[in-house]
């Protein structure tokens, strides 16, 4: 399990990525994240809905009511154009971050020289 503090900044990317091809709803998204991360990362409900709130306020996603299941209406989410743009920027940012931080990641035994 990954410490949630570190990865929290990237939940936006994960959610947007899952919404790129299809609209979805809360539980489906959190399940997919669990599956794709091979169980190494599991979103808490409140983390997921904080992200929804944040992304919707920034107009990166929009919510709508889906059909009824058991007489209740689920909230579905779809990504907006601004959201796709933001996703692309975040991906570039992540690659850069990975590249920079990667330069400082050494295995313990490599470190021996200094």
């Amino acid at each position: 399990m990954i410490s949630s503090d570190v990865i929290r900044g990237y939940t936006d990317i994960m959610i947007l990525c899952l919404l790129l091809n299809q609209e979805s709803y809360g539980y489906e998204i959190s399940k997919q994240i669990k599956v794709i991360s091979e169980g190494k990362y599991e979103l808490k409900e409140t983390t997921l809905y904080s992200a929804f709130t944040r992304l919707e306020k920034s107009n990166f996603i929009e919510s709508f009511h889906g059909g009824q299941t058991h007489g209740k209406r689920r909230t579905y989410y779809r990504i907006t154009w601004a959201g796709r743009e933001y996703y692309r920027e975040k991906c570039i940012e992540w690659k850069l971050t990975q590249e920079v931080v990667g330069k400082f990641i050494r295995e313990e035994n490599e470190d021996g020289g200094n």
Binding site: Y27, K44, E45, T46, Y49, K72
Partner: protein
């Protein structure tokens, strides 16, 4: 499943009941129930499944922060318990009685004005008074009645003043809620009875004028008008008391309505 709902209820207790937040709560409940059902299908026990679902809920403060709600603020939504609900209903009833008494005084004040200015006709006190001085006396009595009525109105206002916060957002605990519901239910028959009897009184009140107009006596005719006013006064008084009692229950029970914006 009930445990999950209760848990969610308690988590959302500190958040305002806006449409946005209630929808979010509904969504979260559905997610948690889905998760619970899946865990059960995987063969987990009921307690285990509930435990996992609750453990994976997270932290309500995280959500509140994103919604710009300050949970640190001393509980912005007051909770009404049974004692407070009973006190409110009691005071609201008392306030209704006082308002009704005030209105009664205003109407009977007019009746008094009528009676006093017609003292000559009744020949009770002889003919010694000029009509101007009788009118003046009548008006003074009317004003006295109205003054007392105004005092009653103001005092009735102070009785319900401490409960002004019920106009905004509040929570009713389950005891208080069932109290308000049963009392309202019990009050229903009485309400119908008061409504019908008051309306009957209003409809019948002109009868006193019809009857007294048959007499060729001005004094009796004036008494007819006075009687009409009294009947109306009684009807209005009953309606006001009834309305206030009914309103007390309705105010308590409307706490479930949603609010457009967070804090009121």
């Amino acid at each position: 499943m009930e445990a999950i709902r209760n848990y969610l209820d308690s988590m959302f207790l500190s958040l305002p009941r806006t449409a946005e937040i209630l929808q979010m709560k509904e969504d979260l409940l559905m997610n948690m129930e889905d998760k619970y059902n899946e865990l059960r299908l995987e063969g987990r026990s009921e307690n285990e499944a509930i435990g996992i679902v609750i453990a994976e809920f997270g932290n309500i403060e995280e959500l509140a922060r994103e919604l710009n709600i300050d949970l640190e603020q001393p509980n912005n939504v007051p909770m009404v318990d049974l004692v407070e609900a009973e006190e409110f209903v009691d005071n609201k009833k008392k306030s209704g009685v006082l308002v009704a008494a005030g209105v009664f005084l205003c109407i009977t004040g007019v009746a008094m004005l009528l009676l006093i200015s017609s003292v000559n006709i009744f020949q009770i006190l002889g003919y010694g008074f000029s009509s101007a001085s009788l009118s003046l006396a009548g008006i003074i009595v009317l004003l006295l009645f109205v003054a007392v009525a105004v005092g009653l109105f103001i005092y009735s206002g102070t009785l319900v003043e401490p409960y002004k916060y019920l106009e905004g957002e509040f929570y009713l605990n389950s005891q208080a809620e069932s109290y308000a519901k049963t009392q309202k239910e019990l009050f229903r028959n009485r309400k119908t009875y008061i409504l019908i009897s008051s309306v009957l009184l209003f409809i019948l009140s002109p009868v006193s004028i019809f009857i007294t107009s048959m007499f060729d006596n001005q004094g009796i005719q004036i008494l007819g008008v006075v009687f009409l006013l009294l009947m109306i006064a009684v009807g209005v008084t009953r309606l006001i008391i009834m309305g206030n009692t009914e309103e007390a229950f309705n105010i308590l029970l409307q706490y479930r309505r949603t609010f457009k914006k967070g804090k009121g």
